[in-house]
Structures are given as structure tokens and as C-alpha cells.
């Protein structure tokens, strides 16, 4: 599976690691839903560390799309909310 950390690049990650990713992702989403910035930051950093630890960086010239995309490391909760809307942060 290919995971992109926004602003950082794409990683190929073993399917075995996805259970933990999904768990952290649920935490992340829950934190966004209940507006808990501290929990949000903790979950986001946990997710990113997990991807970095278990993923291997894809070559820069790959044109493969990612299965999952993660917000950048220093993203705020508001930015992530915006990323979740089509009119949001992502240009194009």
C-alpha cells in the first residue's frame, strides 16, 4: 500500500502495518470530531511516525497515486478540516 505524508513524500508500507495505522487514524478522526487539538496532534504524530518507521520511501520519479494521504506534520486541526472538503486546501 502507498501512503503519502503531505509535504514529505510517498512511502510503500506493508499491509501488516495498516491495522495500527487505522487505529491511529480513528483516533485522529475522533480528535477532529470532538475538537481536541492536543489529541489531534498526538494522533497525527503517531501516524506519521508509524508510516516513517514501517514504510520505505518511494523513488521521487514514481507516478503512482497513493492509497492514503496524511496531513503534513505541522498541520493544525483547522487545516485538516479544510483538507477534507473539495474546496479546501488542495489546489487544482
Amino acid at each position: 500500500m502507498i501512503v503519502r505524508i503531505s509535504g514529505e513524500g510517498q512511502f510503500s508500507i506493508d499491509d501488516a502495518a495498516t491495522a495500527e495505522l487505522n487505529r491511529l487514524d480513528s483516533e485522529l478522526e475522533a480528535a477532529v470530531n470532538r475538537n481536541d487539538e492536543a489529541a489531534f496532534t498526538a494522533a497525527l504524530h503517531g501516524l506519521l511516525d508509524q508510516v516513517r518507521a514501517h514504510g520505505s520511501a518511494l523513488a521521487a520519479d514514481t507516478l503512482e497515486p497513493s492509497d492514503l494521504i496524511l496531513p503534513p506534520e505541522d498541520a493544525s486541526m483547522d487545516e485538516v478540516r479544510e483538507m477534507l472538503t473539495e474546496e479546501g486546501l488542495i489546489p487544482g
Binding site: V3, R4, S6, G7, E8, G9, L21, N22, D25, S26, L28, E29, V32, L47, A59, A60, D61, T62, L63, E64, P65, S66, D67, L68, I69, L70, P71, P72, V80, M83, L84, T85, E86, G88, L89, I90, P91, G92
Partner: protein
Amino acid sequence: MISARSRGLMAAKMLMKGTAARMGVMKRVSLVFKAKANKALDKMEDPRETLDYSYQRQLELLTKVRRGVADVATSRKRVELQMNQLQQQSNKLEDQARKALGMGREDLARGALERKASAQGQLNDLQVQYAQLQGEEEKLTVASQRLQAKVDAFRTRKETIKATYTAAEAQTRINEAFTGISEEMGDVGMAIQRAEDKTAQMQARAGAIDELMASGALDDAVGGQRDDIQSELDMMSASSDVENELSRLKGEITAAAPKQLEGGANGNSQGAQAPQAGTQAPQGQAQPASIPAADRPAEPQDGEG
């Protein structure tokens, strides 16, 4: 074969569902990216034309991200300059405080230290922002290299597709490359946007600090409008230099043979005519009344200009 249009709709529907059903942030963000790519794919008549059009946009984005790197670097250098100025200011103020204390003027020392604290506060803020800008600059630099690599790969793929496939075949071939590069472009575009926002905040901040410095609020006084501390120090140190000379000479007189008084006095004195030199009386400063004021060569009090 799934048409571009229905792909776009699918992504959009999944996105809507995802908002309702819990799909997780990662999946939803990737669907937003895909929905944008699909919208662009939907517009094309002959997909091969879109390849060229997309390639043009990629080149534009490359130019934009490189300009972004240069803009952030410019901002960073401005902050660096301000940090140096504030540091100098802060050093001067501390120096002034030390001098004032040495002359027993705690009030002046306090004033100088208050300004120093203000300058130091600004400096600390700037250091944080400087590190942020440095981070943005590095990120954008890496992003531009990655985009360059992908644009090169896309160009190769594009030429192959155009040379080898019919329009119908091309569509499937294009899909992955197009979605992949769109994702990268969206990501780079977002990185540029974030860097621009931070740079704009930084510029506003730098402008405010420029104004603050111009107002003299952080001034050590030399060159500023508020030169109270420095001018008072100058006057005081002019008189205290004389005092020091005097006591040094007195010491020499006591120590040396009374007859060699003249030679000892001229050897390394700062004031040209030390024994005769007096002082311009600063208001209210204690000084020996017995020594007449004379034209004493003005000495720079310290190295600032």
C-alpha cells in the same frame, strides 16, 4: 472500462459517504485528491491533448515552486538581518547598563536594561520564526526536486503514450500517471500555499519590528531620537575618565619619586593634557571643583557608529 466521468462521481460519492460513515482522515484526504484529478480528467476530449496541457501546468508549477523557494529565502534573510540588528542593539544596551552601573547610576542602567529586555524579547520571537522559515525553505526545496523528477517521468510516459496508443487505449494508460502527478501537484501546490502564508505573516512581523526600531523604542540612542541614556553616559564618562586619570596620576605621584612626575603623566594618558585637563561639568555630577574646565579632545565612548 470505467469512464473518467463515472470515476469522478464515484470518488465524490465515496467522499460524501465518508463524511457520514467513519472512513478515517487518511482515506478521505486521498479521495479529495482523487476527486480533483478526476474532475480534470473528465474535461478532456482526447486524453492525449490533456497530457500536453497537464505537462504545461506541471512546468508552470515547477517555476512557481522555485520562485516560492526564492521568496522564502528572501524573507529568511530579512529576518536574519533584523536578528543581527536586534542582537547588536541588545549588546549595546547591556554595555550601556554596565557603564551606568559603574558610575553609580542605577536609574540609567535600569532604563537600558528595560530596552534590552524588549529587544531580547523580539529577538527570541524572531529566532522561532527564523527556524520556521528555514524549515519551509527546506521543504519547498525538496518538494521542487521531487516534482522535477515526476515531471521528467511524466514527460517520458506522455511521449510513449502519444506515440504508441490510440485515443481509446491512451485513456487507461494515462489514468494512473495523471492521477499520480495530479496528487503531487496538489501536494506541492498546498506546500507553496502554506509557505506563502507563513512568509506573509513573517513579512508583517518584520515590518512591525522595522517600525519599532525606527520609533526608537529599542534604541541604544546613538543615531536614534531618544539618546537620553547615551548622552548622559557620554557626559558622565567624560567626567569620570578625567576622574580616573586624576586618581591614576595621584597614585603615580604617591608611588614614584616626586621629581619624575611629568614624564610619567604623559606616557600613556588618553587625554592629551591629562594633568591639566578638566571636564565639562555635567548637571549635578560630583566632580572636583578645583580643576578648571579645559578643551579636552572628544573621545569616542565606544566603537559604535
